[in-house]
């Protein structure tokens, strides 16, 4: 019992640190998660962590939460998941709460407003870079380009809710890979 409790606290602490020290979201966490859980703690094997990350990317939700929940489950079952997820979320939650209050205090300052009008243009560049990275990782081919174009046009120009587009594209992907793709390759 005490051993289990100690393990759960360790799980919490490991993921708390991961949550507190990675900038740039889920993908930035992956190297840290594998360093901590594979190399240092030996909770997970090298090949398992690759599978876990692949699954974290192909299930809905933030990659960081998915991988924390999964690794936690592997280490100590349900409560392992619970503490891993709590650990990875807590630093963000606390830091952002504090920042939200600071921001409210200083939002009216001229300097802050000027700063943000500059920052917005910079952020646009950062998002384009992220988009480019995702594009490079996406498989290429006519089908993929058509889906990219369709989803872009649907959301940008026809204001179709993202949720319907997501469901539609998942179905198209399924139809394509189960049916058409096989035929084309044969």
């Amino acid at each position: 019992m005490r051993k289990k409790l100690k393990l759960l606290l360790t799980v919490f602490w490991v993921f708390f640190r991961i949550g507190a020290f990675t900038f740039g979201g889920g993908y930035a966490m992956i190297p840290l998660i594998s360093e901590e859980t594979v190399n240092r703690r030996k909770w997970i094997s090298e090949s398992d962590i690759l599978d876990i990350i692949a699954i974290a990317e192909s299930t809905p939700g933030p990659v960081a939460i998915n991988s924390a929940t999964f690794v936690g489950y592997r280490v100590a079952g349900f409560w392992g998941s619970f503490f891993a997820t709590l650990g990875v979320v807590t630093p963000s939650f606390v830091i952002i709460l504090i920042i939200s209050y600071i921001l409210k205090e200083f939002k009216e300052l001229k300097a802050v407003q000027y700063a943000f009008s500059g920052i917005r243009a910079g952020v646009l560049a950062l998002i384009i870079k992220a988009l480019w990275k995702m594009y490079k990782q996406c498989p290429k081919g006519v089908f993929y380009y058509v889906i990219m174009a369709l989803s872009f046009v649907a959301v940008a120009f026809f204001n179709i809710p993202v949720i319907y587009c997501i469901i539609g594209c998942a179905v198209l992907g399924l139809v394509y890979s189960l049916g058409l793709k096989g035929k084309v390759e044969k």
Binding site: G19, G25, S58, V89, P91, A154, C169
Partner: protein, 193 residues
Amino acid sequence: MIFLKLFLTFFKIGAFTFGGGYAMLPFIKEEVLANGWMPLEEIVDFIAISESTPGPFAINMATFIGNHQGSAYGVLGGIFGAFCATLGVVLPSFIIILIVAKFYEKFKNSTVVAGCMAGLKPAVIGFIGSAVLSIAATVFIPMGFSLEIFKSIDFYASAVIFIGALILTFKKVHPIIIICLSAVIGIAVGYLL
């Protein structure tokens, strides 16, 4: 009831976005604007803050928006709003992964999952592309398009910052440095011109 609304909205976002990070942005943008929670500029400002603070983008965003909406009910309301939104965005992941972890082998080799992902990966790129378009509009033409825009200093300042930031980010300069530089130029332009 704003707290329930926050929870449900972020639950939906958590349940239906694949890929994490900026993949959530189009969905968050749509929901926040549809509910009239805050203007797009504030979301963009917060993206900068999220890039400069640790933690997953989705959690940062949920905490911030939840706090923003809950604050109408005081400090405790703000904290509770942040809690509801964050719980909402985390819970679908948590439940789904618990189920997947049990049926791990089946899920890993599932052709259905792989098939859906074949459609979702390129779709997310299209969605983010559309978000880029609307963010570009708030950056460059906040008042809507007119020829007057070419006379405004802000337009040129934004263009210079944007091009500079684009070059730096592709040269792998850290986002925090780019955000700080953009802020400095923004302040300089604001006071000097």
